[in-house]
């Protein structure tokens, strides 16, 4: 059969395998445990290694080791586990190691609960670890898109020698949708002359993030900053939905964008000119999506499963030129489409919009 019915978590695993990833180190946590479960079965089939580490701290450092040795490698977790990994992510960014980190976000802070959330947006896009660094963040909204974005995640990680995070939520991980997997490609992993695979008579290769001399660290920081600027200029990705003539534009990512599409359709049926911007990269934030709308729309409504995190990036992109409103649910609660429609009606054509 051409199509397969997959859970989002399984699709992350299959997408990684098809992107040439052969190493997974991780520790189970709801709501992403189907991913390690899947890879425990799947990686041995393709000669890969699945290893359940003793903790998330260990997992991210195994990723550091494998990436340093030139492997396509991945780890995954949810909120609390990703928090534990922050030190390692900072080291990976400092040592410029390509890898993919998956966060299927659950309710927080602390132990929170196992229900879906998007409240790790700040952590993902601002960096929960220390130092001046950036992580590329991709936010799929369907099981099919997961397959495509996993390939992109590994390619971007290699192209920029940078950690890439794939951020979903529990619903995306748990829900099932049909996917077209297509033919399995023979993925050519780009050469990694920097990898610590032996000197072979050449120069010493050292994977490190330690720069004791301030002048040297400053140069390293500036080099990283140039890389981040290049990523920001070249890698912004987003989807536009029914923006033609839109007066009110919704902004949402992942699962919430799916809900907002239903909202847009309902509003359009009722004659309200409403559209949607769905960021696919959360960092770099797709600022370019907003420019063509400036002066043409009334206002923006950001919808999130948090108390307002991405809304800050929308305000930066809009830069005071239009009002930016916010509607959110939190604690593992999902925004209900009908409620968002009500919110749109409250704002639509209103004063100050």
């Amino acid at each position: 059969m051409a199509k397969v019915l997959m859970k989002g978590n399984e699709a992350i695993g299959e997408g990684a395998v098809r992107a040439g990833c052969r190493y997974f180190f991780g520790y189970p946590i709801t709501p992403q445990s189907e991913l390690p479960h899947y890879l425990a079965k799947r990686l041995p089939e393709v000669g890969g290694v699945y290893l359940q580490s003793e903790s998330e701290t260990a997992a991210i450092n195994m990723v550091y080791g494998a990436a340093g040795a030139g492997a396509r490698v991945m780890t995954s977790s949810s909120g609390p586990g990703i928090s534990l990994m922050q030190e390692g992510i900072s080291y990976l960014a400092g040592a410029e190691l390509p890898c993919v980190i998956v966060n299927m976000i659950r309710g927080g802070p602390g132990l929170g609960n196992i229900a879906p959330a998007q409240s790790d947006y700040f952590q993902a896009t601002r960096g929960g670890g220390h130092g001046d660094y950036r992580v590329i963040v991709l936010a799929p909204a369907s099981v099919q898109e997961i397959i495509d974005l996993m390939r992109l995640a590994f390619d971007l990680a290699d192209r920029y020698r940078n950690p890439v995070m794939v951020a979903g939520d529990g619903i995306l991980g748990q829900m099932m949708e049909p996917v077209e997997l297509g033919e399995e490609e023979d993925v050519q992993i780009p050469p990694r002359p920097w990898a610590a695979t032996g000197r072979m008579g050449g120069e010493k290769k050292l994977i490190n993030s330690l720069y004791i001399v301030p002048e040297e660290l400053e140069q390293h920081n500036l080099k990283l900053a140039r890389k981040y600027a290049l990523i920001a200029s070249k890698e912004q990705r987003w989807e536009e939905y029914r923006l033609d003539g839109a007066r009110l534009v919704l902004v949402a990512f992942g699962t919430v964008a799916r809900i907002c599409k239903a909202v847009v359709d309902r509003c359009r049926e009722e004659g309200l000119a409403v559209g949607l911007i769905r960021p696919i990269t959360l960092w770099p934030y797709p600022q370019k999506a907003f420019e063509p709308l400036m002066g043409k729309v009334d206002s923006f409504l950001v919808v999130e499963m948090s108390l307002g995190q991405m809304v800050e990036d929308v305000r930066l992109a809009v830069n005071g030129r239009h009002p930016v409103h916010f509607y959110g649910r939190c604690g593992g609660m999902l925004p209900v489409a009908a409620d968002v429609v009500q919110e749109v009606k409250k704002l639509y054509g209103g004063e100050g919009n």
Binding site: M1, K3, V4, L5, M6, K7, E10, E14, T30, P31, E34, H37, Y38, K41, N113, I114, A115, G170, I171, Q174, M175, M176, E177, P178, T255, R258, I259, K261, A262, R266, L334, V336, A337, A338
Partner: protein, 228 residues
């Protein structure tokens, strides 16, 4: 329904094979026959789309729903409520068990094996041939063996439940049914029924041998953007 009626019916199978929808619909079909039906949520594997999430709705429809109590209902803990034993021990009650996916989920069932009424239960393996680890007859057999080993019980029949979610056509079901039948033949087990979304039943019947049991499903688990 082709299979003979038994007091306990257990749905097991690959993660995401459709056990929950089947168990709910099957329990409701018992209720419609006037039988005192309970649905037992034994799923300690899948934290999201499981029976307990629509507990109230099912209770309104007249089912007894057995799942962890209070806030524990929302946890990812392997908590099992004591009232499961009531369903197993009371000869007047009919129980439908929704077991968690794969061998991991089936492990929980093993604890109840010695309490099952001898010769008065079905243990059915639900198969969706569009799922990653049950796409071929060999994979289905492998899945069945791993589940049997985990729960220390023998599967007594297969339920043909191939689907692609909302994208399912009757052809999808029919293609998958062939694979399930091939597996069943090798296992020397019956395919007790083909399950299909209610709107596909008629089309499907026309392509099956006359009288082959087709079980109509009303779907209960919805994606959040399907609710307006």
């Amino acid at each position: 329904m082709g299979a003979e009626m038994k007091r306990i019916t257990i749905f097991t199978g690959h993660l995401g094979s459709g056990k929950t929808e089947l168990a709910i619909n099957f329990a409701l079909s018992l209720k419609e026959r006037g039988l005192p039906a309970s649905i037992v949520d034994l799923d300690v594997v899948n934290p999201y789309f499981r029976t307990r999430l629509i507990k109230e709705k099912l209770e309104q429809l007249g089912l007894t729903v057995i799942c962890p109590r209070g806030e524990w209902m929302r946890a990812d803990l392997p908590a099992l409520p004591p009232d499961i034993l009531g369903v197993l021990e009371d000869p007047a009650r009919y129980g439908v068990f929704d077991v968690g996916g794969d061998d991991v989920g089936a492990t929980v069932l093993g604890r109840f094996g010695p309490l099952l009424p001898p010769d008065d239960y079905h243990l059915w393996l639900v198969v969706n041939a569009c799922r990653p680890f049950t796409r071929s007859k060999d994979d289905i057999i492998k899945m069945l063996k791993s589940i049997e080993k985990a729960c220390r019980l023998q599967v007594t029949g297969l339920v043909s439940n191939t689907n692609l979610g909302a994208a399912t056509g009757w052809q999808t079901i029919l293609e998958g049914h062939q694979v399930v039948q091939d597996a069943a033949r090798l296992l020397n087990l019956p395919v007790v029924m083909v399950a299909a979304r209610r709107d596909l039943v008629e089309k499907l019947r026309a392509h099956l041998p006359p009288g082959f049991p087709v079980f109509a499903l009303n779907l209960f688990m919805q994606a959040p953007w399907q609710e307006m």
